[in-house]
């Protein structure tokens, strides 16, 4: 598996490998009246399993039939390490609510509480780069009817949400 990392393998992908391209989506919905960001993450199961195995837990399997306690812990820890939110210079922590399996995807739900209305947000997404340099992470941000997306790649994985994004009306 480690040979997968050969630097230019991405050149020849186009053939319909397991899933054509390496990508995750992180959808974030800001709900001001509840003072929360609702975060839904979708990652490919096989990629994620390989990443977790490489980052220490060699025997972990993301198998829906197994006991989920240990898996949930590993999954939560990984997202805590790789996903970062900051507002006004302060890191905001989030809670891992849980995850479900959907075909070849793992869908995780995270919730982030904010004390005061958001006026600014800094997002960093570092999923899988250590394993798949070609990984792309798409971030969708939504508040009321406003939408904004970012494409995170290994050498550009941090984003400042423009301040005017938070001037919204329902």
């Amino acid at each position: 598996m480690t040979k997968l990392l050969f630097a230019f393998f991405f050149l020849f992908v186009g053939i319909i490998p397991t899933h054509n391209f390496y990508v995750s989506t992180t959808s974030i919905r800001y709900v001001p009246e509840e003072k929360v960001l609702q975060i839904t993450i979708q990652v490919f199961l096989d990629d994620f399993e390989a990443v977790l195995q490489q980052s220490g837990n060699k025997n972990i399997k993301l198998n829906p039939a197994d006991s989920q306690e240990e898996i949930d812990q590993e999954v939560a820890d990984y997202f805590q390490k790789k996903l970062l939110f900051k507002a006004l210079g302060e890191t905001i922590n989030f809670d891992f609510l849980g995850k479900v399996y959907k075909n070849d995807l793992l869908v995780a739900y995270l919730e982030l509480k904010v004390d005061s209305p958001l006026t600014q947000l800094h997002i960093k997404n570092n999923f899988f780069y250590e394993y798949l340099p070609d990984q792309k992470n798409i971030i969708h941000l939504k508040v009321a009817s406003k939408r904004k997306s970012f494409l995170a790649i290994s050498n550009k994985s941090e984003f400042e949400v423009p301040d005017d994004f938070f001037d919204f009306k329902d």
Partner: protein
């Protein structure tokens, strides 16, 4: 009152909403005109003018031609040094109407030369974090140096031909122009170093198994192949950059593959010398398999394959294959292969469904591979044409899925202890269906993949969805615990995430595969969903299936273009789909249709101020009008609550007398509705679609109404429809079955129902 005036009034009564709008816009009269930007504008500007080669109906024309290229090849696989040597004799038949001064040949292997420009095609710069070995491999080591070594190019008399290599293309200059209708014979001798396809995720190469020191070869794009010359591109000599796959000619192949004597080989075409290359027992099983219709016959068992992989023969054997009317040739060779096949009856002919896999593929492959091949042949044949080739082979290769005529490579490997998850199992079945399905598109309906990835990937992924669903029904135990086969692509709601994404990362389907951001949804998922929506929602099964089959049969063993597909689908169905192609294929627009509001209106005897004002403009009064009915919405200032009482007939004398005169025995079809509604629909999305609505009434009943897409012809933002009913409307829901890929469901209902988002649903479940 004179007749002319009266006529005029009638016209204006009919078009009242429009005439009011027109007056408003006169105030802000624009000084600029515009071209036709209507979403229903015909595609005349986008599609090439029909001609003798390709007709306006989307069929091959009377002047249609295609080149024929036949190959006789002697290939040797050097397993010890991982090299392939080849000598090929090419017969090129110029069926075109043109004389050709040179021929272009594709050298796809040259993408693996260490100085290939394709290595530098991306511009994303330095990575801030890299694994040590990646870093070393990238910056410290020489990259793999592959690519063709061309020993010589000679004509039929052995005289060298001048040739020029430009990256992945080679031009062979002809001694004199090849006249229309003539043939040219020449030969090429070459060799190249085989790459490890696991390391660089290539379509062709070997996988190395360190435990037994063996290799499994899956070899393709391995010989210099003629480029296509046709009426739409001239020479299709767009370079191979990695994503845009192949444009290839049909022809007949005779290929002699010389490999280590203990290898098992599968390839495009029929094996000519089974008796020579198989053991006695293998041959006997091979014969048996030809008439085994209920289950596969194992020709090489796992035990035999395990025995074989322990020793390394120094001897060679030559396997000979012949294939008629194929566009390419691929083969797989290894000591490690387990081999099974069974017969399938298709249109009175027997086709062999074959699987070839190392023990590493078991226990998954022995259970599902051949089953998936059989299902694919059946479903696809039903929707297109009977599979015309003698066999279809599914070969196990670790990480990839890739298609060639009659043979393809597929992933899906259990863990070392033999366990596997559902996602590995369904991934494997799906990829086998997909790659075997490619026999139909583009191996037989031979579109130009270099230019249009969607023409084969999209059509194939659409058919894959149908075959997967059938597979679930044919093999219910394979989907135990699930309602149906878990198809990843095909259902409208599965494409919503992509289509509602940031526009800066989207490209229209009609884009070259090299230039799109997300090839998966772009060339596979979105066109497949579009066709599924055509079949389920826009055209219906009968019209769609007939048109799709017509396209497949018209272009079987020929080279279609997008226009030929678009035109045939309309020509065979009498459904004008230009709006659909324009929106779904030429733009990145998405579907979002919402219900904006509902107003109840009532019948009255008195005109509203608005009507009085209008009459005044024409110099008319109430008395000038013929019998008319006035209507008024509830929030109108002049509205009187008594309008709500009783029947509509009670509030309009003229309506009442009309009914009285007409509802006698002669006309019993008159029914007096109690409720009148005007419902407005908005369309924040760019795509036009039919409006599918469920109206729910106070008695709990629901009525499904479908307004044709043409309702958006004259107003792209908002349209209004009237419902007259005996029962009160209490609910409205647009696209209730989620069949249109509507990206925002929050505006689909009245009264607005707060549908729990997936996130909130998950949270609610946690609490329970």
């Amino acid at each position: 009152m004179d007749i002319i005036k009266l006529k005029f009034l009638f016209v204006s009564l009919l078009i009242l909403p429009l005439s009011i709008n027109a007056q408003v816009s006169i105030d802000s009269l624009s000084t600029r005109g515009h071209t036709n930007n209507n979403r229903f504008k015909q595609l005349k500007d986008e599609l090439a003018t029909p001609n003798g080669f390709r007709t306006a109906s989307g069929a091959p024309g009377r002047d249609y031609y295609q080149q024929k290229v036949d190959y006789i090849m002697d290939i040797e696989l050097d397993d010890e040094n991982q090299k392939i040597y080849g000598k090929e004799e090419i017969t090129y038949t110029n069926n075109s109407t043109d004389d050709l001064a040179y021929l272009w040949i594709q050298l796809d292997q040259n993408i693996r030369k260490k100085d290939a420009p394709a290595l530098e095609k991306n511009g994303e710069g330095a990575e801030p974090i890299l694994r040590v070995e990646t870093f070393v491999n990238t910056y410290f080591k020489e990259p793999f140096d592959g690519g063709f070594n061309i020993d010589w190019v000679k004509d039929a008399n052995g005289i060298p031909l001048r040739h020029t290599i430009n990256m992945t293309m080679m031009r062979v200059d002809l001694p004199q122009p090849l006249k229309s209708g003539d043939q040219f014979k020449f030969s090429i001798k070459w060799w190249y170093k085989v790459n490890n396809h696991i390391e660089n995720r290539a379509r062709s190469g070997y996988e190395y198994f360190p435990k037994d020191d063996n290799r499994a070869y899956v070899i393709a794009q391995f010989f210099p192949r003629l480029a296509v010359y046709n009426d739409v591109e001239g020479w299709q000599n767009h370079q191979f950059w990695g994503n845009g796959e192949f444009a290839l000619n049909f022809g007949d192949y005779t290929v002699r593959l010389t490999v280590p004597a203990d290898h098992i080989v599968e390839a495009t075409g029929q094996l000519q010398n089974p008796k020579e290359v198989l053991s006695r027992q293998e041959y006997k099983r091979y014969r048996e398999a030809q008439t085994s219709f209920d289950k596969p016959v194992i020709i090489v068992t796992q035990e035999e394959a395990e025995e074989r992989e322990k020793t390394f023969s120094k001897n060679k054997k030559t396997w000979e294959f012949k294939a008629k009317n194929v566009r390419d040739f691929g083969f797989a060779s290894s000591r490690k292969f387990i081999w099974e096949m069974m017969a399938v009856k298709l249109g009175g002919k027997n086709v062999m469904a074959v699987s070839l896999y190392p023990k590493e593929g078991n226990p998954l492959w022995e259970q599902y591979s051949t089953k998936a091949v059989v299902q694919t042949l059946k479903t696809y044949s039903h929707h297109t044409f009977d599979y015309p080739y003698p066999k279809a082979v599914s070969v196990h290769a670790k990480n990839q899925g890739m298609e060639y005529p009659m043979i393809c490579w597929n992933y899906g490997r259990p863990d070392e202890d033999g366990s596997y998850s559902d996602s590995v199992k369904f991934g494997m079945i799906s990829v086998i269906i997909h790659e075997i399905g490619h026999n139909f598109f583009p191996m037989i309906v031979n579109s130009d993949e270099r230019q249009w990835g969607w023409m084969d990937e999209g059509l194939d992924t659409f058919m894959q969805y149908l075959a997967e669903q059938e597979f679930g029904k044919t093999h219910p135990t394979s989907i135990e615990g699930l309602e149906k086969y878990p198809s990843r692509r095909g259902e409208p709601k599965a494409i919503v995430n992509y289509m509602s994404g940031d526009q800066s990362f989207l490209a229209p389907i009609m884009s070259n595969p090299e230039n799109v951001y997300q090839l998966g949804p772009n060339a596979y998922g979105k066109p497949a969903t579009a066709l599924n929506i055509l079949r389920e929602t826009v055209m219906g099964h009968d019209l769609f299936d007939h048109a799709f089959k017509t396209y497949s049969q018209r272009w079987m063993f020929k080279h279609p273009t997008p226009a030929d597909f678009f035109r045939t689908m309309e020509d065979a169905s009498a459904v004008d789909l230009d709006w659909f192609w324009r929106g779904w294929f030429y733009t990145t627009d998405f579907v979002d249709i919402g219900v904006k509001g509902i107003k109840q209106f009532f019948v009255s005897d008195e005109p509203s101020n608005e009507v009085i004002e209008m009459l005044k403009n024409y110099g008319m009064t109430r008395a000038d009008l013929p019998p008319v009915v006035f209507t008024m919405v509830e929030d109108n200032e002049e509205f009187k609550s008594e309008y709500k009482q009783g029947s509509p007939v009670d509030h309009s004398q003229e309506l009442k007398s009309y009914i009285d005169q007409n509802s006698s025995a002669t006309n019993s079809s008159i029914k007096i509705p109690k409720y009148f509604y005007e419902i407005s629909f908005e369309k924040p999305g760019g795509l036009v679609m039919p409006i599918i609505v469920d109206y729910t009434y106070s008695d709990g009943s629901t009525e499904r109404v479908e307004y044709p897409v043409q309702v958006w012809r004259k107003n792209d933002d908002e349209v209004k429809k009237v419902v007259a009913s005996d029962k009160e409307i209490v609910g409205i829901k647009i696209d209730p079955d989620q069949e249109t890929a509507d990206v925002d469901l929050s505006n689909n209902s009245w009264p607005k129902t707060e549908e729990l988002s997936e996130f909130n649903q998950f949270k609610a479940n946690l609490k329970n």
